[in-house]
């Protein structure tokens, strides 16, 4: 079995193009989260979509606790895909923890990547030593306890909070359904890896031009995190979109496209 099969890799767009966009989803979604955004790039780019291991039914059989205990494991999977498909000149667009995994991959193999777009990403979710990550240990413990007690009830409460945009409830419903489709024990294990991750010291090594896109009012990633990333990633630019929620690529794809396009030129 190939790595492409493990990560349910799909190739779209202009397959003859020497420019590649890899889109990486975040926690609780899968590659379908990108469909609206990538439509804007398929003429010019070869587009690679994939699912992180554990994100859905297709990939969950390959999930092992001993391997996926750091974001580095997910970064390594991204590099496996690039290597197997022989991809070059890569623009990596990653959402949330999917973006941070891409950043780790780009730090490990800097030559394989041209630039990165990190959408609502965070190097550390826990408030500590004056750093504002958005979550306290108490809040996280409570979150994990709820996930453990009744995963589906937790998902249906967590989704609208993270998606925001209450005037369009179908968005939260859709997110809730991809979230609920995860195997509860795997979702909990991945959530713990993400929320306890701390890559504040790593991001300084990211040498590529990096576009940081942040939405307003994101319960998972406060503004301070965006400023922190901009300060510590050497060649980074921070843009705040006029949209709410943690998943702007789903809730407001056109704004995300408008932000990314000039950066790719």
């Amino acid at each position: 079995m190939s790595v492409a099969a493990r990560n349910n890799v799909q190739l779209l767009g202009n397959l003859l193009s020497d420019k590649t966009i890899i889109c990486a989803h975040g926690f609780g979604t899968d590659q379908r989260a990108w469909l609206e955004v990538v439509a804007a790039f398929t003429d010019e780019y070869k587009v690679v979509l994939f699912d992180y291991v554990g994100a859905n039914d297709k990939t969950v059989p390959f999930f092992t606790r001993w391997k996926y205990k750091h974001l580095h494991a997910y970064a390594s999977d991204i590099l496996d895909i690039i290597e197997e498909l022989g991809l070059q000149n890569i623009t990596f667009i990653g959402h949330s923890a999917g973006g941070m995994s891409g950043a780790l991959a780009a730090i490990a193999e800097p030559d394989w990547f041209s630039r990165l777009v990190l959408l609502n990403a965070s190097p550390c979710y826990l408030n500590q030593d004056g750093y504002v990550g958005g979550f306290s240990t108490t809040v996280l413990d409570e979150l994990f306890a709820q996930m453990e007690t009744n995963f589906h009830a937790w998902a249906s409460g967590f989704a609208p909070m993270v998606m925001a945009n209450p005037d369009r409830p179908h968005l939260a419903n859709a997110f809730s359904s991809t979230l609920s489709a995860m195997r509860p024990d795997v979702a909990l294990a991945i959530a713990k890896v993400i929320f306890y991750s701390d890559h504040r010291l790593d991001i300084g090594q990211l040498s590529h031009p990096t576009l940081l896109i942040q939405a307003q009012e994101d319960v998972a990633v406060p503004h301070e995190v965006g400023y922190f990333l901009e300060k510590h990633i050497p060649h980074s630019t921070l843009i705040f979109l006029d949209t709410q929620g943690h998943l702007p690529h789903i809730s407001d794809a056109s704004q995300v496209i408008r932000a990314i396009k000039p950066f790719l030129k």
């Binding site: 001993w66 391997k67 494991a73």
Partner: protein
Amino acid sequence: MIDFNGLEKRFRAIEETEIGPKLLEAYASELLLFLGPEVCYVIQEREEWTATVLYATRPDRGSAHVNPAQFNDLTGTNSFFFELNFVPRRSLKALLGDYLSVAGLRISNYTFKGWIVVGWPKLPIFSREEIENVLYRFGDKVLICTLSFQQIALDQQYRFLFGVVPQAVVLLNEAEDINWINQSALDLLNLEAGNLRPSSASLAAGMLQLRNRALNQDAINQTASELINNPAFVTKEWIWTFSEKVLSVFTKPIFSPYFKGRIWLFNDVTELYRKHQQLSDANQEIENLISVIAHDLKSPLSTISFVFSFLPMIGLLNDEQNESIEHGQKTIKRGLHLIDSIVGFNSLATQTLVMEDIELDFLIDTVVDSFSAQAYQKEISLHIERTHPPLILHSDPKSLVRILDNLISNALKFSPFGQRVHIHTELINHQLRLAIKDEGPGISPDDQAKLFKRFQRLSAQPTNNEGSSGLGLSIVKSLTEKLGASIEVESSMHVGTTFRVVFPAEFVRLGHQNKVEQEFP
């Protein structure tokens, strides 16, 4: 030229002194000495895309997990590879980036799957065949190490398991003189402190000593002799009683292609036993009291009955007085019947069963026939239905008649006038199901819960002023269980009730077609 004999000798010398995690390191250091590579890795395959570095001469190199795809490609057709201009792929860069010549051997064994990989910064002085030969010999040593790790890990797990169970556990190994016991067993059998791997002889002595201290040696020896005669024997409820404690002993043989032995579990049930004893003593006392009270009540009632029957002899009585006396006598009779039921129920516990082969159809016909007068009074029709050939039921006829009596009498009592009562027998999965079905008022779910308890007043009432002691169904249940059968009830309000007694297959067999006359009490 490599001195293979020298290498083997070194390996053997290591085996005599090293054990555990140091073993692999020691073997590898010999390999490095003989073959002269700069690095040696032992990489264990975990899945297609993930492998763990089990041993590295330079542990600082690379992460704990690597993608072994390149090794898989190199050893796809031939288990050995030797690359003179090795270009590592991404995941192996950290491990092998500095080495020009890299050789590897694929090991694919039940115990271990993975690769041995060695690297030289320049061209080695040995031939391809020599390198393969050395790696092959080292591969065997990797297997030995993995096996010994696994054995140590298993040993630790068993030690832990044996340590946490509260019972005294003895695992006898028949093939070798190494037996496993836990601390509780060590204490119980009074064996040498600290030795959790005692010899068979010391274990046998310890167990014999324990048995000799028991108060119920005869009973223990009886089971023990069965155990000696039958190697497959598994104990059930084997109780060893001592002055200070009671043990429930369980033993079972273990037969597997790789292990022959027997496990013994000694469970301390002293507390349970003491409580059980207290409860049954209290129960016995209550039973005795009931018997005494019942008998004491019977004699004044008999006296009153005698006085009543004497009254007409004193002088002529008018109709009203006669009627009162008759009513009084009826009431006394009901009282005596109730007392008899109580005494009867009490004696159930001590009554011994006389099991014999009963021709079922004949017994049912006889019992049902005895109810025809009572049924006629209420215009109830009795129907016997059976869907099986003649059956022989191995049971106690007295008890069976009493069960049927009670159930049919209840069905008649609670059925309104003009209804039907069915006595239905069928064989399902060789089990006999004997059902008494009425068309009475039904039993409410609340009542069903207390149906089989003694002296329960239920909401349904007899339809023709018949008497009811409140004991009938508890007697039925008690007898049913004593016979090894079970009873169930199905009831719908205003539709009717079915009581079903189910006899397990072991009591039932097909009878002869010709009826045999049999006497029943």
